[in-house]
């Protein structure tokens, strides 16, 4: 897939960074992972100062995109200052530099608000009082044009959540702000618990970055704590491609894109995105770019400072009012899509259950054949190809997955022929003549047989004291037994476990010896092959 131009030069020194994808109804939304504005490079998940209505707010960029009309947009998740939510703080005493992460879905009664929340003319003011008094105007994230961004901010998460890498003292000292609680805009409650998904973005993006993990682009990402958003481009990074209908018409369109499209886009974006993405934090790197004409000239990367120049296009009002609408479907689409998106799509196939049924029916009909002496690294599709080219028969193959007790020298596969005759013929041919595969392996086939899986209720090796079974009705007992745990050295359990380990070791040695012997025998014979088959 060809990537479109990465840099869009314009008079405000704006450059796109690495493009990470394409989306939108006509595939004309471009998603990016970073951009440069005013000489400062901003990355996805940076924390930035946003200029809004004579006031600086702090937000975290979660999406960067460019619309087909070349308007650059970002989606930003809010951090609330204590003063903004003082109504709900109650007894909670925040620290002097503490802020709160916005989470949850806003009431989103934006349609009550007649004015569109981004591309708003400057006349739309008084958002702050509105937020305090009108629940409906709370939002957790908002989209805006890039020019509202005016600098990076260093925000550190001090939450004790186990998903959050703890900051060092140095980090804390250097931080502009810290946060360890969220403010849910839907319920207007403060809580130290972080939900798994905030504004369609996985919560780990809001935690501190782990040391050493790279961001979308390599350098500049060192500032792992609160990345400051790039003022110039609005990044809207979220799985949910809520980018359709750019806000041009002023309506906050959060309509969820159809899931299929999501998946397709995500797949595409995934293909495009660099695999330099670290494993951890950037699972959902689907950055959709929507480029808004940056009229803003002055969004200099003022570090932590207020921007003196009034950006003209501050029409993007971070409608602090309830627009953080994330329809549940979008959320689940995003999550679903991203989960499958992370792996190459080709691998996920039918679940094994249907295979069991197929095998059973084939076994009953007599079309099941067990092929042996295959190279263990073959895949099922290769086996199908082999049968096709050798017997001119179509069918379905399934390589048996390897486990510790399978021989490393040869693999087995089930093959379901289309008809009983074909199966019989194949077997007799394999017996009579010789089908030599590469590597000097003659294919062996025989009638496949299937073992009925019985749902064993007892497992060899798991012991329970019968008398205690009555006592075990108590909940704690159940929990105690079913929790998976390491065995402690001072228990009987430990001694018994060691006995099992010894047994395992012994059997492993036996298998090793057997395999070695097999290998020798095979080698002996193979070396006698006169004609050379492909190694």
């Amino acid at each position: 897939m060809s990537l479109l131009g990465e840099a869009h030069e314009d008079h405000t020194e704006f450059n796109w960074g690495r493009q990470t994808g394409i989306g939108g109804p006509n595939k004309d939304f471009l998603f990016y992972g970073s951009f440069t504005h005013g000489g400062v490079e901003y990355f996805l998940y940076d924390c930035v100062y946003m200029w809004r209505d004579n006031e600086l707010d702090i937000g975290k960029i979660v999406k960067i995109w460019e619309t087909p009309s070349h308007s650059k947009k970002v989606k930003v998740v809010w951090f609330f200052r204590p003063i903004e939510i003082r109504q709900w703080l109650g007894d909670v005493e925040p620290l002097w530099n503490e802020i709160f992460l916005a989470s949850g879905e806003g009431n989103g009664l934006f349609n009550r608000n007649p004015l569109p929340f981004f591309f708003l003319p400057d006349g739309h003011d008084n958002l702050r009082p509105a937020m305090c008094s009108d629940l409906a105007t709370l939002t957790s994230s908002w989209r805006c044009g890039i020019e509202a961004i005016c600098g990076k901010c260093n925000v550190v998460c001090t939450s004790k959540d186990k998903r959050n890498p703890q900051p060092s003292k140095e980090d804390l000292r250097m931080a502009d702000y810290i946060f360890n609680r969220t403010f849910d805009v839907a319920t207007c409650t403060i809580s130290p618990i972080f939900p798994d998904v905030i504004a369609e973005s996985e919560v780990k993006h809001f935690f501190n970055r782990e040391k050493g993990q790279k961001l979308i682009t390599s350098e500049g990402g060192a500032n792992l704590k609160g990345k400051i958003a790039n003022p110039s481009s609005f990044v809207k990074v979220e799985g949910v491609t809520a980018l359709r209908n750019p806000v041009k018409d002023g309506k906050f369109d959060m309509s969820p894109k159809p899931a299929a499209k999501d998946k397709a886009e995500m797949k595409r974006v995934h293909d495009l995105s660099h695999t330099s993405l670290s494993d951890g934090s950037h699972k959902r790197r689907r950055v959709h770019f929507s480029i808004v004409d940056p009229k803003e000239e002055h969004s200099s990367g003022v570090k932590g400072g207020k921007s003196d120049n009034q950006p003209q296009e501050i029409t993007r009002r971070p409608a602090v009012g309830g627009l953080g609408l994330l329809p549940k479907e979008e959320l689940s689409n995003g999550i679903k899509g991203s989960k499958s998106d992370n792996q190459p799509q080709e691998i996920t196939r039918r679940p094994a259950v249907s295979w069991m049924e197929k095998l059973k029916s084939a076994y009953e009909r007599g079309t099941l054949v067990l092929l042996e002496n295959l190279d263990p690294s073959y895949t099922s599709s290769e086996v199908e190809d082999i049968v096709w080219s050798a017997f001119k028969e179509m069918g379905e193959a399934k390589m048996l997955p390897h486990c510790t007790s399978s021989s490393p020298h040869h693999g087995q596969a089930f093959f379901i022929f289309k008809s009983v005759d074909a199966a019989e013929r194949a077997i007799s041919e394999l017996k009579g003549k010789c089908l030599m595969l590469s590597n000097g392996r003659p294919l062996v086939g025989r009638k496949g047989c299937l073992v009925e899986p019985n749902n064993a209720t007892s497992f060899v090796g798991h012991i329970a004291i019968n008398k205690l079974k009555l006592q075990k009705q108590k909940a704690e007992w159940k929990i105690a037994v079913s929790t998976s745990h390491y065995s402690q050295p001072n228990t009987i359990e430990y001694d018994m476990a060691l006995e099992w380990l010894v047994l395992q070791e012994r059997s492993k040695l036996r298998w090793d010896a057997l395999n070695k012997q097999h290998a020798e025998e095979i080698e002996l014979l193979r070396s006698q092959l006169k004609t050379h088959h492909n190694a």
């Binding site: 997955p401 486990c403 003659p442 062996v444 073992v451 009987i492 018994m496 476990a497 380990l501 006698q528």
Partner: protein, 200 residues
């Protein structure tokens, strides 16, 4: 086939394999959520995949592929669990953990760039006899392997029975002692013989 794409797929798959651990000796009653919560203690579990057991004995222990977040985590797990017994869903048989291999995955992509050839050998071909021998060998190996497997299963059953008996016996002893202490028999006997420790 788009070979660049195939290569990328394969590389991604390899990376996945590195992140995955193979867990053996699981009770058939274990399900995905149990495993997830078990392994979530160490790190984020991305995926749990059961390896279905088609051709072997039906009461063999189950095996599972657990995909973690990073290869380092996977390696750590393998090391830790090989040294210390880890129980999942029951005691005292510990699970066995080792690094996953490509062949363990049921659905895996083809290795790009491999070509397989096949050739029908006629009886006149000098290699025919060798090939026949190889076929025989394969069959014999399969038989030997299944025999060894049977033997292993029998051994495991023996050990389990033995442990169960020991445990029962020990438990009976404990019960006996408790009973005696509780109903005062110990105290009375103690008085008789001049041992007064049971007066507690």
């Amino acid at each position: 086939m788009d070979s660049a794409k195939a290569k990328a797929n394969y590389a991604a798959f390899e990376e996945r394999v590195r992140r995955t651990v193979y867990v053996d000796n699981l009770s058939p009653q274990v399900n995905e959520s149990i495993l997830k919560s078990a392994f979530n203690q160490f790190g984020n579990v991305q995926k749990v995949e059961f390896i279905p057991n088609y051709a072997e004995e039906s009461n063999m222990p189950c095996c599972v592929l657990v995909e973690m977040d990073s290869p380092e985590l996977a390696k750590e797990l393998v090391q830790a669990m090989s040294n210390q017994p880890f129980m999942v869903f029951g005691m005292p048989r510990p699970v066995r953990v080792c690094a996953a291999e490509m062949e363990m995955f049921e659905h895996r992509p083809q290795k790009p760039g491999t070509k397989i050839t096949c050739l029908w050998l006629e009886p006149q071909n000098p290699d025919f006899t060798i090939a026949e021998k190889l076929k025989e060998l394969t069959r014999r190996h399969a038989a030997e392997a299944s025999f060894l497997l049977q033997y292993q299963l029998e051994e495991e059953e023996k050990l389990a029975k033995q442990q169960a008996e020991t445990l029962e016996a020990n438990y009976k002893k404990y019960e006996l002692i408790e009973k005696v202490l509780k109903d005062g028999t110990a105290k009375r006997l103690g008085h008789r013989y001049g041992i007064n420790e049971f007066d507690a």
